[in-house]
């Protein structure tokens, strides 16, 4: 059902937790669908220098959260904004069709965190 990469990111998720004094945070999901993703970011000079996630959800949700943090870390906000859920799924070697809609929202959570950051720091390009 799940690819090796999904299983790896699910069993050994990267960047789990929250950041003390995070610069911004984003959250997406609802308990009905069974997935809630929360992302904290720390930004320096327009670059995501730290990122952590907390996710309530299935393996696809956890793995895509983990994957998005891994991809985004070290990226500029502008680069990170270009990340899509599909790109995360692709980086995981694909997700089962049933999981694409509901559990594959980690990029959206990241975008919300970036939005939050931009709201707080309107001066940053």
């Amino acid at each position: 059902m799940y690819t090796k990469k999904v299983k790896d990111h699910f069993m050994n998720p990267r960047n789990v937790g929250s950041i003390e004094n995070a610069d911004a945070q984003g959250e997406i999901g609802n308990p009905q669908c069974g997935d809630i993703m929360h992302i904290d970011i720390k930004v320096e000079n327009g670059v995501i220098v730290d990122i952590k996630f907390q996710t309530f959800g299935c393996a696809a949700a956890i793995a895509s959260s983990s994957m998005v943090t891994e991809i985004a870390k070290g990226k500029t906000l502008i680069e990170a904004e270009k990340l899509t859920n599909q790109m995360v799924a692709d980086a995981l070697g694909g997700l089962p069709p049933a999981k694409m809609h509901c559990s594959n929202l980690a990029a959206d959570a990241l975008h919300r965190a970036i939005q939050d950051y931009r709201r707080k720091h309107p001066e940053v390009e």
């Binding site: 799940y2 299983k7 699910f10 069993m11 998720p13 789990v16 937790g17 959250e27 308990p31 009905q32 669908c33 069974g34 997935d35 809630i36 993703m37 929360h38 907390q54 996710t55 309530f56 959800g57 299935c58 393996a59 696809a60 949700a61 956890i62 049933a98 999981k99 809609h101 509901c102 559990s103």
Partner: protein
């Protein structure tokens, strides 16, 4: 890695004795039971012998047992054909809100076709109260279908009381006993039911064979159209090895029922106590005592079922989950929601259903890894 299988409500391994019973009917006694020559008599006799074994196990007469392709078909045939055949009497039919989809979706389809359907509520234990059925019954009610034992939470209904209420108003009573047969005594006379569904693979028999019990005189009919098999109630060449295997599985269940029952109870109690002691914020679901033996269903708050399932799987432990993620739909289990459990909690449900082969060591193995899995997932959860 050794596999600890704790999902016997999903399906069971076929008992080796059952395989042995089936084997001669593949390549040796392969005759079509409808054929006239003597070698076909062996197949025919095997089916009738199987019918008798099964009938006596549930206290029915052999003529009241009709073989089908499984629980789903039995449920469908019982519901669709009795509702249609009694249309002149009335168009009101009743079921519960915690039925298996093989019953629930049949009722929803009949609703689309113009039937008036009442979905009875359940209490927080998953019990359908006889008084709610009593209130729902109308003069145009023709069929009541309420499951004997629930697959997700293990709760068992008081079928005799419910069936008696249905009969008082002249309605037929069907019960989906797929999760009950082989685990608890099922006696169609004592339960006073008109129709009852069963599926072999839930009791160490093969997949792809079931039966429908229909009391003599019950107005039901064939759901499929074709040959005259099964006394014209189920066309198609009979699955002879499957039927023989089903009967063997029933025979084994009969012989072992007392031992099995006690063993399964012990395992479940040990597991329940262990989880209770080792993990916080858990909610055991289903009725505490009126439940199938060996069935533990529990919600772990703040985490999601599929994740628990897969982490247990990585330790070689097989369980199932009532979470939205595993059912292919996006909503949490309709059973847990009907019992009044909020959807976030319902997402964290896990079902562990034990079988004959399981041991106390298996339970200890679960208790050994489950707490740290829950802890790991909760650490990851934004809800904690």
């Amino acid at each position: 890695m050794k596999c600890i299988y704790l999902d016997h409500s999903a399906t069971t391994p076929v008992d080796p004795e059952v395989v042995t019973a089936m084997n001669p009917f593949f390549s040796m006694h392969y005759g079509n039971p409808s054929s006239m020559y003597s070698i076909a008599e062996i197949s025919r006799d095997a089916i009738e012998q199987s019918r008798s074994t099964i009938a006596s196990f549930i206290n029915a007469s052999p003529k009241e047992i009709y073989f089908t392709s499984g629980g789903t078909e039995s449920d469908n045939q019982a519901i669709f054909t009795t509702a249609q055949k009694q249309k002149h009497k009335g168009m009101h039919i009743i079921t519960s809100s915690i039925e298996h989809h093989a019953v629930l979706y049949a009722f929803q389809q009949l609703e689309k076709e113009g039937f008036d359907v009442t979905y009875l509520p359940v209490d927080s234990y998953g019990i359908v109260s006889p008084s709610s059925l009593q209130k729902a019954m109308r003069s145009d009610t023709t069929l009541v279908s309420i499951m004997h034992a629930n697959n997700e939470v293990g709760t068992m209904q008081d079928i005799l009381s419910l069936a008696t209420i249905a009969h008082e108003k002249g309605a037929l009573f069907h019960t989906d006993a797929v999760q009950a047969i082989g685990k608890v005594p099922v006696d169609v006379q004592l339960m006073n039911v008109d129709l009852l569904s069963s599926s072999a693979h839930k009791l160490y028999g093969p997949k792809g064979v079931g039966f429908l019990y229909a009391k003599k005189g019950t107005p039901f009919s064939s759901y499929l159209y074709g040959g005259g098999q099964e006394n014209k109630k189920r066309p198609g060449t009979e699955n002879v090895p499957g039927i023989v295997g089903f009967a063997k599985a029933i025979e084994l269940a009969q012989n072992r029922s007392l031992d099995d029952h006690q063993h399964l109870q012990n395992l479940a109690t040990f597991l329940t106590d262990g989880i209770q002691n080792l993990v916080s914020d858990v909610l055991f679901t289903g009725h505490p005592t009126q439940r199938t033996p060996g069935h533990v269903s529990v919600c772990f708050k703040y985490v999601e079922g599929e994740s628990i399932l897969l982490m247990l799987d990585s330790h070689g432990i097989c369980v199932s989950s009532g979470s939205a993620c595993t059912s292919g739909s996006l909503d949490a289990s309709h059973v847990l929601l009907a019992m009044g459990i909020d959807s976030a909690t319902a997402q964290g449900s896990i079902r562990l259903t034990m079988g004959r082969q399981n041991t106390m060591e298996d339970m200890k193995a679960v208790l050994n890894v489950l707490p740290e899995i829950i802890e790991k997932l909760r650490k990851m959860s934004p809800l904690c």
